[in-house]
């Protein structure tokens, strides 16, 4: 359960104060499939970053599973990102020098899991995302769709409750984009809350709940 109330986020751009989010109220239930759409600069990515604890609101309160997020320190937020939240980005953000398997292993390495368990989980993830024969390839040896699948495997390896996807198909062709959508929707079926920011209206319509943003406000929700 995600509960935002009166969330405000301001940015300083040059001399100008830009209000990215104007007192946003939003509640998302566990297991929901939410798409966030809107023109550029409407605040959708900022909203996603605040939900993902990558950014802090200037005002307002954010409850994640009944716990107040706004006054947690960096270490506690990192801990929550590690265990409860998975990110999928438009540009994949794989570490270029690491193999697919190592990229997937990264969050488990950071949290200090035993190498044995890490290996098993990576193995399982590679198999379930159809990447078994790509385990030792570096990102530049993978296709766009494969890269995004590696990124999703990495985002879900710690079994998060929430998956945040920022334009996950924005950099993919139609076919691989569809594959990726199928994968993350399948994850949503397993009761992972899925929040997806997208420009693509067709993609946005697939979600059970569609949020439209305009000028830092929720324009429509339903």
């Amino acid at each position: 359960m995600i509960s935002l109330s009166k969330i405000r986020r301001e940015f300083q751009v040059g001399d100008e104060q830009v209000l990215a989010l104007r007192d946003v109220d939003l509640t998302i239930k566990t297991g929901e499939y939410v798409s966030i759409m809107g023109p550029s600069g409407s605040g959708k990515s900022t909203l996603l970053n605040i939900i993902g604890l990558l950014d802090r609101p200037d005002k307002g309160s954010y409850l994640l599973e009944e716990e107040d997020m706004t006054d947690l320190d960096d270490r506690q937020q990192a801990e929550l990102r590690r265990h409860k939240i998975g990110f999928v980005f438009q540009f994949f953000h794989l570490v270029p020098r690491m193999t697919a398997a190592d990229n997937i292993e990264l969050p488990m390495m950071l949290s200090g899991l035993e190498p044995k368990e890490r290996k098993d989980r990576v193995h399982a993830a590679l198999a379930s995302f159809g990447l078994s024969n790509r385990a030792n390839h570096r990102p530049d040896q993978l296709s766009g769709g494969q890269r995004q699948r590696v990124a999703i495997a990495r985002a879900t390896i710690m079994e998060p409750h929430i998956l945040l996807a920022d334009e996950p198909t924005g950099n993919l062709d139609r076919v691989s984009g569809q594959e990726v959508i199928d994968i993350i929707e399948a994850l949503n079926q397993k009761n992972i809350t899925l929040i997806m920011v997208t420009h693509d209206p067709e993609l946005g319509r697939r979600a059970g709940r569609r949020i439209n943003m305009l000028d830092g406000r929720i324009d429509s929700d339903g």
Binding site: R75, H83, H93, L110, S111, G112, R154, M158
Partner: protein
Amino acid sequence: MKITDITKFAFRAATGYPTRTLLMLLAMAIGVGSVVLLSTLGDGARRYVIGQFSSLGTNLLIVLPGRSETVGGPPPLLGITPRDLTIADAMALHRSSAIRYVAPIAVGAAPVSRGGRTREVTILGSTPQLYQVRQLTMDKGRFLPEIDPSRGAPVCVLGHETKRELFGNDQAVGELIRIGDWRFRVIGVLSAKGESIGLDIADIVIVPVASAQSIFNTTSLFRIMVEAVNRDAIPRAKKHIARIIRERHDGDDDITIISQDAVLATFDKIFTALTLTVASIASISLAVAGILIMNVMLIAVSQRRSEVGLLKAVGAPAGQILLLFLAESAVLSAIGAVFGLILAAIATFILSRVFPDFPLATPLWSLWAGVGVAVVTGVLFGVMPARRAARLDPVQSLSRR
């Protein structure tokens, strides 16, 4: 996060960008290499000098005319000149039970000729006991004969080099040579032992001490070399020498007695200080390498902004990112240090081939110091870039490709 994972991650990050890593390793390697090599050279110089002194003989005391220490009391207004040491002084030392050998020394240079060849050579006047005191060895013939030290004899022993220059490959023992206006018969040739501090034993002619005094027209000695019966007897021998000479010199303490130990200890100190100084100077290059590490790590941080953003997104707190980047510069400097050690080993090997007589041995402390300073430098200069990485805003870092 496990320490092995940190190391592995840092190592991979370090080797993931070969060009910058190689440049950085080169700088570190030169720094560490020069610290190790220069301390090796410094320590080699120390060993060389100590070795030279040791070859003077063991349990050695040197008696010099004149006093080099102040003993208090009124200043010498009357202009006391120290009495010369004489052969009789030297022979009187035999009275001490703490003394085994006494070798009076008279030194000068004189032209030595044989046939058409003339050479200016150091002439050393002494007694048969010089043989034991200086631990000489004979190549041919015998050393000076046991005769009354106050009387000369027209016999001489040649150093190895002198023999070669005067006689070439010819037989020397039994032949006559001319020293100044005097004729001497060669009775022996020293084996090639090399150099002893201040005196080239190879390029020398040894004659009975009284003969040397006649050649140089003097009655005084350059010094007296004394060997105590053993190491424990050295202080007793010193006391005896001082007392015997004082009795003979009307109660004046006008000699200086140097023990080999004291000389060795002094030289040891001087050369150790010198080695440390040189090593410290070399470590300046490590500081330069450290600044290079900082530079390269700063570039690495800005190149890898999105990686840092990602690490934060998958749950790395700022402290962990700081640790990862610090580990990376530590790993880089450690690898650089290892290369430096290899570099130093190669240079030492080459030097030992070029100068086989010079005792080159790398002191163990310099290895630890070189590597330790390198890693500490790497970490210190890595702090600033690592902090910068840890402070990066994840949203901004991830917004770029």
